[in-house]
């Protein structure tokens, strides 16, 4: 099964906050919802930066503001301070709060852990959008249907 993700290969953000905000803009949500999601993601970052491999960050949370697992991937050639180390690849995801939401969240964490274990260095240094999607076993939301 391929996960669907919004994708922005050339992030212009120069900070973690900007990167989260830029990636949330890809989501089909209103400004208020995006603002609340950004706060939730920032709270999660405050208790521990989500850098999971050299060059890869995984900002995430669970929220009642989404009704399905919502993922965005972003890439910055320049690198984004997160804030102690620079990251180039960002996988942002928000899991829903519903009866099986925690299980879905857990399964996705396993999926990401496996991808990073198998191809972490390649994911961090990837040079093309399709290559990144393939390494993560994702497809773009636009490819739906």
């Amino acid at each position: 099964m391929k996960y669907k993700a919004f994708c922005k290969f050339e992030l212009i953000a120069a900070s973690r906050e900007e990167a989260i905000s830029e990636m949330l803009e890809l989501f089909p949500a209103g400004e208020q919802t995006r603002g609340l999601l950004a706060s939730g993601l920032e709270v999660r970052e405050q208790v521990g930066a989500t850098v999971v491999h050299k060059g890869i960050a995984l900002p995430h949370c669970r929220s009642i503001l989404v009704d399905r697992l919502t993922i965005a991937i972003g890439r910055s050639a320049e690198g984004i301070p997160w804030p102690l180390e620079k990251v180039h690849t960002v996988v942002l995801f928000i899991s829903p709060v519903k009866p099986n939401g925690a299980e879905e969240h857990s399964i996705f964490l396993s999926h990401i852990a496996r991808c990073i274990r198998d191809s972490g260095d390649r994911i961090a240094a990837v040079s093309g959008q399709q290559e990144l999607l393939d390494l993560l076993n994702f497809q773009t939301e636009e490819q739906e249907g």
């Binding site: 208020q32 709270v43 208790v47 999971v52 669970r62 503001l65 709060v97 969240h105 857990s106």
Partner: protein, 117 residues
């Protein structure tokens, strides 16, 4: 959106984050990814305490009571219904473009409802 409603939604998500760290399968997977900082849960609980102080006592009391009773105090309204108990919500509220500008509760279960934008 009403500021108190925003805070209640954020408090709910914060509670979910804290509860997730009590789930063995999530805790193990976060640790496997190197995501689980030592003391993260305690830090979240402290944040929650500080955050809840900024919420009106009336709404915080209701929130705590509903959480104790149902597990979830805040729910989205979907297709004119409370997604907690599926009761149809008053049409006048659902059709009001300013419906998120105050805190609404479900007339049946009492859960706090909001409309996604």
């Amino acid at each position: 959106m009403d500021k108190q409603l925003e805070k209640l939604i954020s408090l709910h998500d914060l509670d979910v984050m804290i509860a997730d760290l009590n789930r063995k399968e999530i805790r193990e997977k976060e640790a496997d990814l190197g995501l689980l900082a030592e003391g993260a849960q305690e830090e979240l609980i402290e944040l929650r305490e500080a955050y809840s102080k900024s919420i009106n006592r009336k709404w915080l009391g209701l929130y705590n009571q509903l959480t104790k009773h149902y597990g979830n105090a805040v729910v989205p309204a979907l297709m004119g219904r409370c997604s907690g108990c599926l009761t149809r919500l008053p049409t006048a509220v659902c059709s009001d473009p300013e419906r998120n500008s105050r805190v609404h509760t479900c007339p049946t279960c009492g859960r706090i409802t909001y409309w996604a934008d």
